[in-house]
Subunit: 338 residues, 4 copies
């Protein structure tokens, strides 16, 4: 942490800062520039003590110089983490496609979708049983009945299953049915939930909060990791910006940047990130070239009968063409830009 | 709901939309402009069916024309709601000030603060016992011990008490200690939590999500209201924008606008909303003139020893001057601009 | 400037940074923390040399520690600047109200408006003759004819006149007609224009760019000031955020913050900042309590016949009530919260 | 345009809206829903008259249903525009790479860069002679001397040349030296400049304003097109969001979406869009898969000696590897996802 004094700071004011640093057991290092003085504060987790300086006079700014996340950082672990989802590795050579309906709406449609996406090369089935909906009057999901349908589909197709959990009390229930727990964008800072999924042995798909910085996202991962669960897959799904022509702004910059900062695998959700099915294919291909380890895509046999998010779901035919293009692309490029 | 056809839509394409409207039991009304056709869709909650049109060809846009919130809307209830917090009315003539430390850090500091803010005219004591912190390594609050200290402070000073709840499982515990349950910005779309607080008889202080639109905020209120709990106080606390000179951008526009759209009372948090104690007084006074029914302000006996958010907390002397200015202002203006 | 090395930086990598600092004539100061080393770079305008380090290995971050604006800063000039607009002082004791139509649409309507706003206490007439419109098909203003009407209105009413200039080539023309040149939000980073207005002796009303940080805004002022023109009035007019319920998000936080950082006066435009006439009065009163030195308000005799921005213009009756409330407020509070 | 009445609108209030529609020569069409009435307004450019309704009582909302851009829209021109930049076509089969230094800093470095990028397959040389810098104390470019160096480099290498123009008065000068005029992000709504470049016969590279919606961007193109210049190339270069880990958020969503809405070619600037050279390669490849017709990339022989933007410039070696990957990618995929 660095404390920048204002240009007009007097010597006693600088000294007061130095004294405070020593009081809290840290080491001060004063640097006197032409313009102003700067006090370096040395010691473990110094930034946690920033409040101790917040009301001292003649301080212009307090600058944090170390990243607040540890277990999630590449400085902590240089090699890539590969998360094992019941035998399907995410973060290795293979591009992993997760696909399925936004919500589980019934057994028949789910099985039909599962069979189809499996036949095209998807490895993991997605489908929401508990849905966090903006309006209390919208369809809220089938709950445990939906989980049972997902389990049936897994049995029949060999696909692994990922589904969202929205309350700490439901974690145990989900663990009995799915291979990976999804924490959605609206719950990325639901710390009670993060700690609960951190206590399980299940891989966690952690979606980025729609208004979360990359640092906050990695700190959310840190909540899970620090409970002992090291199997976190990050998922970029679009951030909220002033642009309303797309539902969100899919931030593909985040993909290569997070791979620099962290060892955790990153996947991309082009369905949520754009909100328009016609943009899903180009943005999927773009995500792969940006360095994504996988994709999570909404697919529905009849998107215009979907109970949620039909407008961003692919129908079977479009999904088939997406998978063909992905195969062509990954063969040609060996999958990764780096 | 209105479905805008593209300029090049053929007659059969328009007809397909009309047929679909009828299929789902709604009433179509076609309007043929010079440029393009538009299909009005008439019937209760038509927008809920928008997915049914999402993959039909030659549709340019689907426009929602009714607000999705009901119980929270002024159309539904024209007169102002006054929320009774154990005898303190929010939403009436009086400007209600809630004050106290960001976190409950110990009994002595809490009592000292409570006595002081009560002596200056505050009516409600704030203080976090369960803290949603961005980093898992930050102070997470004293939990139930903190709640007991709040109860003691209430007993001694007569102040009412508001405190944040961050998990559905804790709601019952909080209900035993506090007069108003706070749902924080990071949990505004934690629907399991909203439903749980909606089932209690306690007033709810619902902070705006830092990236939530006003519509989403009112829909979050709708979650609480639709469970039968009509005592919701909205709290504007700053939104996330590109501007980083302040911690958040306190959106005072939202105050008069929400009062147009809704009958619920609105209070403002200038401490969270700016992140800088030196801005708290001007923004508090501004909030009152914008039409706020109350303020929630962080106060700490020694802000630079605070365990959280010291940089935005007022010390006693500054709080005293704020209260003096508020009294002078409300006397001069009778409190409300309208 | 401070250069933060990565945790894994080797001694030769740190040394390479130190050598580079010396090469470019600045003074390095190395601080070795527990976790990582940090190199302070001392010397005038060090941050301008940051590119010199951008490709050296093992650097984690480069942190700027001095503000890049000088002439605009309160560190440079501690006392408030009062800008004299042909005898009307902005930045002193008096709250200055500027009012008038969005666009000058004709002489009659302009004179009628000017007479009315003068009778209510406004001191400066606003009105656009050159309009920067988002669409090339919208009304673009009356040009010089509009300026002549403004001059006539000034003559008749004694009001001073402010009008927007949108091209460097028009500056000389405007100077012949107006008392203050307005640079609009879309041109805040039109540096050719800023330099041109900086070369005149006219006061400049510098609106904040709708996506400009406070730092960029003060740097835009610096362009004008550094040309020798010290008469800059800053105008907060709303920033672009995700919230679309209001046209922009009026950032009142910026008012007290800019008054801390700078000696220049600050006024607020609640018409542009909200885009809704019903919000203009509460936000005007709020702006005054936040510390604004003045207001600029759109007024139109018949807002629903306006050629631009009628939806955010006050009619005469509403403007009268606003002025009454402002008088009551400034009398009661002596105008300023500080 | 559609006018949504409030639920409590009376019959005379609806009638007042209908009368106003007729007064201004448009055709009303009233639709009475269960909940509220809606008045469709039919006729050319109806939305331009929205102000006429802004102060009528009992209107809830006015909804625009036609896009305000015409010449730029795909509805107007279904086939792709191919812009001919002195023989180099942008918008056709070929992926066009523009490369060069952020600023022209001297003849030697420019020639060295031009020769290198040409040898690797770039077709157009970029380089700023007039630089719009946030601070008046930063390097502002070499002006006409820089343009002469660009012309020399063109002569020697056969590369075409693109350079930014920042003032209407400079357009004629630039036209004498360059093959394509660049309008930068800070000038996207500098309408005097747009009109001036629209009057030339030179192709225009129109960068997206950093806070401009896609609609505003296409309307800026409309300013150029409506002056008779049909050779506009759009350039996505990152938007301003809350995320500060990258300099801007490169919005690749915009690429396929603009190609749906418009017939104009779209290129991407991954240097400006990310602000970090290490992200340029993955984001370039991603941009191609998203459907970009070209790339504009900053390259510098010694990025850490650059006078501007060194941190986002590629050195020669990295640029070579980028071009190799681009060739491999475009061969494998035939360049376009669609």
């Amino acid at each position: 942490m660095i404390i920048v004094m204002s240009r007009r700071a007097t010597e006693p004011q600088v000294q007061a800062v130095v004294d405070r640093v020593r009081e809290i057991g840290l080491r001060p290092e004063v640097s006197r520039g032409e313009d102003r003085s700067v006090v370096g504060v040395i010691g473990g987790n110094a930034y946690a003590y920033r409040e101790a300086f917040s009301h001292l006079p003649a301080i212009q700014e307090i600058v944090q110089i170390t990243k607040p996340f540890k277990l999630a950082s590449r400085e902590f672990q240089p090699h890539n983490t590969v998360v094992d989802v019941a035998g399907v590795p995410i973060g290795g050579e293979e591009l992993v496609v997760m696909a399925g309906p936004c919500s589980v709406e019934g057994e028949e449609m789910l099985l039909e979708t599962a069979r189809f996406v499996a036949s095209q090369g998807a490895r993991i089935l997605r489908g929401g049983a508990f849905k966090p909906r903006t309006s209390p009057y919208s369809f809220q999901g089938l709950g445990e009945a939906g989980l049972r349908m997902l389990a049936t589909a897994r049995e029949e197709t060999g696909l692994r299953v990922v589904s969202e959990v929205i309350a700490p009390a439901d974690v145990e229930l989900l663990v009995g049915y799915v291979d990976m727990l999804q924490v959605g964008t609206r719950n990325m800072q639901n710390y009670a939930l993060l700690q609960e999924v951190g206590r399980t042995g299940k891989p966690v798909l952690l979606k980025r909060g729609m208004s979360s910085t990359i640092e906050e996202w990695l700190l959310a991962a840190e909540y899970v990791l620090s409970q002992g669960n090291r199997d976190v897959v990050l998922c970029e799904r679009g951030i909220r910006t002033f642009e309303q022509a797309t539902r969100f702004t899919l931030d593909l910059n985040a993909v290569p940047l997070v791979r620099e900062l962290s060892h955790l695998p990153v996947v991309v959700d082009p369905s949520q990130g754009t909100g328009r099915w016609s943009l899903v294919k180009p943005m999927s291909l773009a995500a792969v070239m940006a360095g994504a380890n996988g994709l999570i895509v909404e697919v529905h046999p009849k998107p215009d009968e979907a109970l949620s998010d039909g407008g961003q779901s692919l129908d079977f035919d479009t999904f088939r063409r997406l998978m063909q293009d992905l195969v062509r692309l990954t063969e040609a490029t060996a999958g990764q830009p780096a």
